[in-house]
Subunit: 349 residues, 2 copies
Amino acid sequence: MIKSYLLAPGLRELFGTAQDVLVLAASGTGAMEGSVTNLLSPGDEAIVVNGGKFGERWTKICQGYGVVVHEVVVEWGRAVEPTAVAQALESHPKARALFVQASETSTCALHPVPALAELTRRRDVLLVVDGITAVGVLDLPMDRLGIDVLVTGSQKALMLPPGLAFAALSERAWAAVERARLPRFYFDFRRERKGVAERSTAWTPAISLVYGLRAALQLLLEEGLAEVYARHDRLARATRAAASALGLRLLAPESPSPAATAICLPAGFDGSALFRYLRDRMRVTFAGGQDRLKGKIIRIAHLGYVDAFDVVTGVAALELGLRHFGAPVELGRGVGAAEVVLAEGLPAR
Amino acid sequence: MIKSYLLAPGLRELFGTAQDVLVLAASGTGAMEGSVTNLLSPGDEAIVVNGGKFGERWTKICQGYGVVVHEVVVEWGRAVEPTAVAQALESHPKARALFVQASETSTCALHPVPALAELTRRRDVLLVVDGITAVGVLDLPMDRLGIDVLVTGSQKALMLPPGLAFAALSERAWAAVERARLPRFYFDFRRERKGVAERSTAWTPAISLVYGLRAALQLLLEEGLAEVYARHDRLARATRAAASALGLRLLAPESPSPAATAICLPAGFDGSALFRYLRDRMRVTFAGGQDRLKGKIIRIAHLGYVDAFDVVTGVAALELGLRHFGAPVELGRGVGAAEVVLAEGLPAR
């Protein structure tokens, strides 16, 4: 039995909710699956915003459980247009839920969750948000916005190893749980909610990570969530400024995520070779592109315990790596541009 | 991506199989659920050996997914009779799978898995074994016995914190997976098997625990599995000898588990008060009884990293605790009886 009384208020503050935040022994995908199986019944219709690998995952989970999916397909790197979602809601009035990523990790684009919540909270449609690279990165207060389900994982802004997933549900989402008939057992949110009430969990919890969670929440709340969000925004702007100074295009320039930045490599450049050189020879690990973006982009994460000098290191490594492979780079130009932004975070004296 | 090439052979040796051992980010119940959803289809029939809390869990999972369950109910503390299972198999010829615990943790009884495997391997019935307190405790070579699915968790004989679950499947179990139509996504064993082939996992792995797993497997394999099993048997016999010397009855005297021993408290004794006194005042934590056994038994675990002097500590604490609550106890009598057995494990010189 994990005593949760120190954890529960911290998690509620992080999620911006008065509801219980469920703690699951699983990676984030488990909480995504639970968000489908606890809300819906076989044959139900749902709308999925698919603008990347993780949007696609909502579709796969829904279809795997017999939910009829209407996709709002978004070009990789772009944010969904609220008007496109409004139109999908009009076209599919029986849709019971809208599934979306707050931050689509595969493209580093930020979807406009507050605008989508405007649409769903006036309708009988549940808004389910994958906040895996958003909770603790940007302000996403679920109760105030009207998000119905918000999920995240332990290994992003919460700075823990992977192995915990989290989910919080609105009042109307809990009402939907009572009606939902999709099968679930391990990810049965009602059992977990009962667990929270008893300061326990339904199944054996991943104890070592729960202890880490307590420490992580303390770090975040001591820094103050407003400053945490400002820091993520600053690191993201610094990274984007560096890319621009180096003449590199961003994959998601219009609505970039504060969690990570996807930088397009010059045409013809072998991104996979650059990725391996940086990781294996310089010991600096970026993320590459997935699927159709493989070899074409480099993603720089700047969330969680990342600080200003990690951004400096990342940009410097990128400059050196690009030059190593023959790209024309003025060394230090990107770092300098990043520093201009990072200086905003310096103590006043 | 976790490099699994050091882990895979160790896990195969531990499971006694040439098959892949899947590593899931979940507690053991997740692997139990996956064993149901990956093998069966809606409306399929299955036989469940229900002799405790965990047998009951097989039933709940199956029913939660629309599987028709025929239970072989076993008195708590007893092992199932193979003839009762044979009869159930005759009565329900359409049953596709038999679900059982190797070691039923709630009662500390050991079910006769080799005898059950004799029954299932001659039939078109899959034998699914919950080995959560058995794998790494006793010899349970799945390929040789003909176990079709063997699952375990990280926090028992593997000596890790909770958060990893494991499953291995026989050839005919993998064939059943191809036919099974129950919905699954997070616990989709086909995706995980593909992951193993790519030295990866389907979803983000619980990395910190996987690193620990490598160390745990090394400890077990260096000690040698034969000695690991002998040690568990010795500690279990020592614990039972202590209970007998103290005049206490065992809950499962006929087929006791080498993982843990359930000791019945004298009639009228307040087991919950004893449990709390031992835990809170003496800092020695036993497990109590669950459900109908609440307050009536004390369970002493002796698996994983437990050694001879942990058993001595446990027995001494039990003696002192019983005396504290007024039971007539000759202090040291149980410890002495344990030591006689523990001496078998002493180095020869």
